[in-house]
Symmetry: C2
Subunit: 179 residues, 2 copies
């Protein structure tokens, strides 16, 4: 039996630059009430960008939340009312310099469904043309290219520590048929 | 060139039940400062629980952040100082009733590395013994079992909308060698 948690009351806790936070009082099973803390996020995009040689383009950057440098697929926030496809094309260019001759939506998923409404849209980008990067001046990003088969091994041995990147690599491997 | 963002100042915005929120003033590249909004979360576990018949145990529940019912791998928060393995055994029992004869750590990953320190630990549970569920009275959870090959198709056609569940299914498929 699935129970829909209707909102009884909602408190705005914070409105920020990349996220807002609210606390909802909800009706739960058994005619009781409970609270749900919800992060509001505008959503983002992740790009599995595959070169003609079968390599995936990856970025390394310092992540404050993890307090370390992390290897990830190129990704970024959707700006305002921007379409996800537009954001994917923009972020790929900004972070890696590449323009995709072909870009295909693979799937979309919630990153932290227990407490965040952030939805990430995953794209497969191929027929890549190199160009200049143009990332935000407060970002410092290193770009690498790895064979997809090597990245798959890095997922399975725990070297890839970012959920969206794990999804991007393993779904790209299925599409490109990497064994 | 990778730049480590040292914290200059930190503001506590919210301390809640499942998450805290802080805003860090950080030193960024080019001798400038910027702000990072960081959700603090105690971390969680996700379990790829595979029956002797090659089915994966899944749960369906209403998720307030998504405002809908979502199909997911069993998962939950780590309680205080609880070890991730202990949390995985506990959550599997609570949400599905199953006790695993064998449980193996697969990998660990950040769910939303751009703004959250939440780390999820993924386990493979096999040799499952059925028993009674004992989930929280405010939760309403339906349990299903799907062949792993069917779940893999559901990932690729976009029916699985939860990042940790996509990782759990695709990594389990590699371990169990589902084609």
């Amino acid at each position: 039996m699935v129970f829909e948690e209707k909102t009884i009351d909602s408190e705005r806790i914070y409105e920020g630059k990349i996220l807002n936070l609210r606390k909802d009082k909800v009706h739960v099973v058994g005619d009781k009430t409970s609270y749900r803390e919800i992060v509001e996020h505008n959503g983002g995009v992740t790009i599995a960008a595959i070169t003609d040689e079968g390599c995936m383009v990856m970025v390394r950057q310092f992540r404050k939340a993890a307090e370390k440098v992390v290897l990830e697929a190129p990704a970024g926030k959707i700006d305002g009312e921007e379409a996800p496809l537009t954001a994917a094309i923009r972020e790929l260019k900004e972070e890696t310099g590449y323009t995709a001759g072909r870009i295909e939506h693979l799937t979309s998923f919630y990153s932290s469904i227990g407490y965040s409404d952030e939805k990430l849209h995953l794209y497969l980008a191929t027929d890549l043309l190199p160009g200049e990067t143009c990332f935000d001046p407060s970002e410092a990003i290193d770009i690498y290219e790895y064979p997809l088969a090597e990245l798959k091994k890095m997922v399975l041995n725990g070297e890839i520590e970012d959920a969206k990147t794990i999804a991007a690599i393993l779904i790209a491997c299925e599409k490109i048929e990497v064994k």
